[in-house]
Symmetry: C2
Subunit: 137 residues, 2 copies
């Protein structure tokens, strides 16, 4: 979305984007599907400028394996301003226990400790952030 | 995402989804692009179980015209529970002034009253909602 004509929109520096990503743990993963696109709310964790996600088994993973190019959005509100970070990149599944442990993703609290989780990694190709006036509510 | 095995996840009734959609005005639009997928934070308004969006001119619209199948996500948090609604459907651009006025979209506060806005409508094909335990923050 180009809103460069809108002076109320502030573009964030990359270090500020990573600070905000690191300070939060909930985002939305958008993936391409056979028929269009889907979007999933997910917990995440940042380590070394990569994003680690954990998901319960489901249809999402099939899409991700076939179409690894994804977008991930995290936003928040502070007083009357909202910020939003969009990460674009590729996602892959962590296949080795050592990768999973090293990522720190196991530190994310689990909704269901007995579930067989899938661990995913986003390797960012672009990270953009904006801050703008929050709406009326 | 199938989390039906997770007893902590509550699936919302359709009327509750629409109540939550109607009580909010900020969501994320996921669209397919030539190379993958993109996601845009946007204000919205609900009328007659359709969702109306307003966007500044930009690359997004080109994608939408070519690939009208989209997903739109709205979420929020109340105490220790987070809810998330995902709407899938088709998006089109409102071409007539009468459609724009009738939608009520002009009631959305503008960041920049002088911008030439584009008005979009999502015709939902599916609406699903979940409520789950919020993460540690």
């Amino acid at each position: 979305m180009s809103e460069s004509h809108d002076s109320a929109v502030e573009h964030l520096e990359i270090h500020e984007c990573w600070d905000l990503l690191g300070a939060n743990d909930f985002g939305r993963l958008a993936v391409a599907t056979e028929t269009g696109v889907d979007i999933f709310p997910m917990n995440y964790l940042v380590r070394d400028r990569e994003i680690f996600l954990r998901s319960a088994p489901g249809s999402k993973l099939a899409s991700i394996t076939q179409r690894p190019s994804i977008a991930f959005e995290v936003d928040g509100r502070r007083f009357r301003r909202r910020w939003s970070i969009v990460v674009k990149g590729n996602i892959d599944r962590l296949g080795f226990d050592s990768e999973i442990v090293e990522s720190g993703i196991l530190e994310l609290k689990s909704l269901n400790p007995t579930a067989k989780w899938n661990y995913l990694r986003i390797s960012p190709e672009s990270v953009t952030g904006r801050r703008f006036k929050a709406s009326r509510r």
